[in-house]
Amino acid sequence: MGVVPPPSGLTQRGDTAPQATGGIGESTQRPDGVLKVTGEFAYASDLWHQDMLWGHTLRSPHAHAEIRSVDIAEALAVPGVHAVLTHRDLPAATHYGLEFTDQPVLAVDRVRYQGEAVALVAADHPETARRAAARIRVDYVELPVVHDEASATAPGAPVLHPDRTDHHAAHVPHPNVVHRQPVISGDVAAAAPTAEVVVRGEYTVGTQDQAFLGPESGLAVPAEDGGVDLYVATQWLHVDQRQLAPVLGLPPELVRLTLGGVGGAFGAREDLSMQAHACLLALRTGRPVKMVYNREESFFGHVHRHPARLAYEHGATRDGRLVYVKGRIVLDGGAYASSSAAVVGNAASLGVGPYRVPHTHLEAIALYTNNPPCGAMRGFGAVQACFAYEAQLDKLAAALAMDPVELRQRNALCQGDTMPTGQPVDSPAPVAELLRLVRERPLPPERPWEVPAAGGADGQVGVDLRELPGGLANTSHGEGIVRGVGYGVGIKNVGFSEGFDDYSTARVRLAVVAGEPRVTVHTAMAEVGQGGVTVHAQIARTELGVSQVNILPADTRVGSAGSTSASRQTYMTGGAVRNTCLAVRAEALRLGRRRLGAGQPGWDEPGLRLVDGKVVTRDGAVLAGLAEVLGDEAIDLELEFRHRPTQPFDRETGQGFGHVQYSFCAHRAVVDVDVELGLVKVVELAAAQDVGRAINPRAVLGQIHGGSTQGLGLAVLEEILVGPDGTIRNPSFTDYLIPTILDVPPMPVDVLELADEHAPYGLRGVGEAPTLSATPAIVAAIRQATGLELPRVPVRPEHLTGT
């Protein structure tokens, strides 16, 4: 056996149903589905090479410490060890980062968080590498930690990055503030006295982990040309390449990346993890090096969702019209910047939610601390804000004695309104309608645990423990159970914002193979599970009228696709595939006209299409088969696609056309709470979302269900517990709980398709919006059941029992 390669291409015919063409709007099946159910799909952690070594990372046990010395002699002497590397062995650039180049490849003289990489080992067995790493002697001198806003900005606080050169450094109030973004509209000071009802609240969001199931992994293979081939699970091949080349001291074309199978991402693979380390070990040893994190290391090996503290004040008239919103959002970015600055921009610009607010004064900041580094996670700054502003809307409804849904609908954002950033909402924003859809669903039956008693007389009831809070732990048979219903709605941006040159690239080839026209689509899009590969094939079928589409593996031989994040890939790489297909179609028609058009007036008609492998007129008359048109010529084009440009937000006012597109989702949560034990069972979680156009309806539902479930996790289960010393208490799936199938309720979904005229096919990015509103809806339902304020998530039993 040689190399176990990533999938060599996914070919699928568009014949899932007799009348189907496999084009857009159909729930076609995943082209990688069969490989994934047979165990043949090669994830990055499955890759294998007969000569390969295993890499391992030695990480800091301290959240903040000076490194006096590192002694690798004993580790190097372990039989089976081929290399031990420290920062002294780095051949070129010593730091990397997505936006700020602030993260050491290997710690130099200081570690800033627990888990920071200090040294690397390559050995012939993973256990040998682990044991050798344990023999590396690092002399640490612990330093005081900064762990929140007060300690990070106190006089004399240790400055984590004293020599900042990033573009925000000159504008922040303290060097431990990564970025600050105010958003100011109207005149809050003048308007505040006109508010008849004012509510205030302070909220806390715990640290959530993406907890993808497939840990960080990859295989680096040194090449004869002095370069390296890296097979890796990532979200954005080209941004990895951009960061790796300077670290390896190689030109980018010698750092070739191919996507290995990816076991989920959710933001956690946007930053480098093992990429540089495996490549460095491979180049040093001349052997392929595989690195696979275990679950514990994964908790230290990627950024998390920013924990946040949020303070809000909402003022409204007595008839429930919002007058103003004041707010301050403090995000803890941890030790390195990652994408914190962009998270700040999102939290600030989306911080009042999907509401019309005439006067706004918001400020969001992200801190540098010695806590775990935070960055991208599904929802990206909008999740934290949504939990707080939705709690505020409920608080306001209570103060007004108004129905919380009606209050939201009265202030709901509509197309034509203006955001607090001054950006007009220039495509459908059916916020009120989404709320109506979830509210009008029939409620699930009360006391669902009551079942006919087995063998009992008529009318006797038994208990199905599985339907109760506490479940099979047998904590209640219905005593002390109170039902609650709550609502939430949120707003998320789609695509990269604030003036970023966001583009994607697609190469499309149309050729005749064995007498049949076939399409090959090549992009660098990271398929992380979302189903982009499915969508690309659908788009190619629709635009080129060819049933057989081959999707090539994603790699850096084709131009960048941008990141699989920000709900952007169907819009951006889907848009790129469409864009290139349209150019290929135009070229095919030009070829047809040249070859077959003489004396055939049909070829000069406007609106010629490609259908079922043929060129047809608008009236459906067949002009020629594609095989005839193409002959032995292939049409092969690679083109970039951009969304409309955006602008940076003004540093002082936050004004600017900052976002490409908005995405909206609403939830209604129904919960049963054991108010004596503080146990919660979510009984139903209904969602309604506008997706513009469902390119693959089943995949859309999968995104809404999956996103809603991660929101449920944040509401009642998921938190990385970080002590005041900056260390993580629960880096395992035993102690960090993600929802099981027993924790997740039925999730009925309404999908609206209101086209956004600016987007390909009118589609709207789907993946993130459902993650926002699920959390506040569930907590609102728990509040209704318990009467408690519950200002933090996740809600734990002790928050409900007061014990």
Binding site: G39, F212, L213, G264, R466, R698
Partner: protein, 171 residues
């Protein structure tokens, strides 16, 4: 040490196995069967679920030496000899129960085991049986659809709602 196993009906031998290696490691790294996945190494996630002499186990929690002489069934052994998918595999693909797919091998083994014991499971039965298998992508709705579909087909019943080509949508 040497470990002898029968995997998916095939006798296999792994040599030079270190005593600390798990059954999962031996399957994945020594026997070329990476279908079972390593996602937590604590028996919490079920991604490494295989059958050991008929019982569902987390292969990460079984020392390779403990499995000496055992019959192992992995996801690679689910399909028919001619390559046709087993009904539960087909149902997972058709209902969209596969996204990233990392949990899929374990879920398939657990679902197959459930349907062998309980041919027409209620939703609560499905949830109970699959509660040891974490999935981070799907929210489990499509997983439930898949098990319902496979159960209905085995009973010769029409495909249940949610399993057809067009999922629930309105208006």
């Amino acid at each position: 040490m040497r470990v002898n196993l029968t995997v998916n009906g095939r006798p296999l031998t792994a040599d030079d196995v270190w005593e600390g290696e798990s059954l999962l490691y031996v399957l994945r790294e020594r026997l070329g069967l990476p279908g079972a996945k390593n996602a937590c190494e604590q028996g919490e996630c079920g991604s490494c679920t295989v059958r050991l002499d008929g019982d569902l186990v987390c292969a990460c929690l079984v020392a390779a030496g403990q499995a000496e002489g055992a019959e192992i069934r992995t996801v690679e052994g689910l399909a028919e000899a001619d390559g046709r998918l087993a009904p539960i595999q087909a149902a997972f693909v058709e209902t969209g129960a596969v996204q990233c797919g990392f949990c899929t091998p374990g879920l398939l083994l657990a679902a197959e085991d459930l349907l062998a014991r309980v041919p027409r499971p209620a939703d609560a039965d499905i949830r109970e049986a699959l509660s040891g298998n974490l999935c981070r992508c799907t929210g489990y709705e499509a997983v439930l659809d898949a098990v319902r579909l496979a159960a209905a087909r085995a009973a010769g019943a029409p495909d249940p709602a949610g399993a057809g080509p067009t999922p629930e949508r309105r208006p």
